[in-house]
Amino acid sequence: MADNERIPTVIADEAHIVYKIHQAGSVSSSPLASFKRLTTRAKNANIREVHAVKGVSFVAYKGEAIGLIGTNGSGKSTLLRAVAGLLPVSSGAIYAAGQPSLLGVNAALMNELPGDRNVELGCLAMGMSPAEVQAKRDAIIEFSGINDKGDFSSLPMRTYSSGMSARLRFSIAAAKKHDVLLIDEALATGDAKFRKRSEARVRELRQEAGTVFLVSHSEQSIRDTCERCIWLEAGVIRADGPTGEVMKEYEAFSRR
């Protein structure tokens, strides 16, 4: 490994991820049935374990943009959360350089609060200092474009349309620089105008970041941004290689 040295930034080593789901009102919800379950020491039907990722291994290098594809529920988002350290792996390991950041549209904000307060809160939660937050606040609101049609940033977030709040969330998350950037479906949000703006922002972030992972169902945005692709199906890697080849296999699979 002399001249064209490739520096690994994310390594997954036989990673398994299991998470628990508490669900109410499942199969046996009568008191008698629950009691029977307790006395017979049967498994709790209200807690189900989902084995979302089953033994995934890969090495991601600096400067790569990797697309994660797969049908719905194949474990893509779960894998990203584990790389970000938000979900623990149950066996195996995931190693990463620095602190990978997950840039998603699902970041829960406070719906009762106005947009600008949410911007401040979100930035603080990402570890910015109050001075930084003050400096970036207006730019974030400007980028999200929620004020294009009147002063929406001072209205509670519950009054926003789903597209508007997704845009605001994306804008908050994209305001920070990241070593390893994980993007979950973010490019699919908002109207065409915002999509173009956010794609440009992701390219910028990618130049600053070492490695980018992108989960998307939009074939086009994967082809546009990623040169490498990992195809995940039911928690197992089906293919890992150049985007063109993996895409071809995936398309053949999904047409079946």
Binding site: Y19, H22, A82, A84, Y95, A108, M110, L113
Partner: protein, 298 residues
């Protein structure tokens, strides 16, 4: 493509070895205690902002808004005044029973609400935990901070009640400041403990109301503390009187009331309060920190 690349560049290395050689750290690794505390300190602005955001959003759809922060403890005291002052007539042998009662209720409620909101701090914020990176202790701490703020407002209401019932303002009132500090540390520990415990054993949330009611009746809130001495003696009495909430309530009464019979001398009470808050504060923090990486699992 990647398989061959790995093989040629780092021939024969296991993935673990490769990670170690390149200085990658396992994501989901538990940070050391000093490291964790430093990050938590760096997130103090987030904790404060999160706390005040929660206050605003919980009162956001009421008409009176933050007036409720003052109104809630006043109504609370009003209910106890009607029942114990007017209907039941109180303990006639006790000087100023209304003030005695209100102090107990307010001080007890402070810990009670921290325990309740603490148990929800992790389970109620899973969306945030699974989306963003921040030391998880921020959530129970901000929940406790909300209650500390509420209690400070309640303390002013309490002082008003005490004055109305005919107590003079004395220098002893200043003792409320160290008391607030000690009980806050105690509550932070309780909140952190309950946050992890409640996220592991969800069923505990169903039991909290009963545990807290039992604790309320055991803390001499609604009756004179001297009743313990009438029925208990020896080690049993000592165990009952070591109850941390009883200690905090006694100290608050000692600070605000002129004629009050205490279970122990103030010096003993202050020692007990200090020991309790340090033990519970530190234990709660350590217990929560040990679970830091598992909270996202739900």
């Amino acid at each position: 493509m990647t398989e061959t690349a790995v093989a040629s560049a780092d021939a024969g290395l296991s993935l673990k070895e490769l990670a170690r050689r390149n200085g990658l750290s396992a994501s989901g690794r538990l940070p050391s205690l000093p490291e964790y505390s430093r990050t938590l300190w760096a997130y103090r602005h987030f904790i404060r902002a999160h706390a005040s955001a929660k206050i605003t959003s919980s009162l956001g759809n009421t008409k009176l808004g933050s007036v409720w922060q003052v109104l809630t403890p006043m109504i609370n005291a009003g209910v106890y005044y009607v029942i114990f002052g007017l209907v039941l007539g109180g303990h006639r042998d006790m000087p100023n029973f209304i003030a005695y009662l209100c102090i107990g209720v307010f001080v007890f409620q402070f810990t009670q609400s921290v325990v309740q909101t603490g148990a929800n701090a992790i389970t109620g914020n899973l969306g945030l935990i699974r989306a963003l990176h921040f030391p998880r202790a921020s959530l129970p701490l901000s929940a406790a901070l909300v209650e500390i703020r509420n209690f400070i407002v309640a303390l002013f209401v309490l002082m008003g009640i005490v004055l109305i019932t005919g107590e003079p303002i004395t220098l002893q009132w200043l003792l409320l400041a160290p008391l607030l500090l000690l009980q806050s540390i105690f509550n932070l520990g309780m909140g952190l403990f309950m946050a992890r415990f409640g996220s592991k054993v969800r069923d505990v949330k169903q039991l909290i109301p009963f545990i807290m009611r039992f604790w309320l009746y055991g803390s001499a809130v609604l009756y004179p503390v001297t009743k313990f001495g009438d029925v208990l003696s020896g080690w049993q009495l000592q165990v009952v009187e070591a109850n941390p909430l009883l200690v905090f309530i006694e100290l608050a009464r000692h600070a605000l009331l002129e004629e009050v019979v205490l279970a122990n001398s103030p010096a003993v009470l202050w020692t007990e309060a200090t020991v309790w808050s340090l033990v519970v504060g530190i234990t709660g923090y350590l217990y929560f920190w040990r679970g830091e990486k598992g909270y996202g699992r739900g």
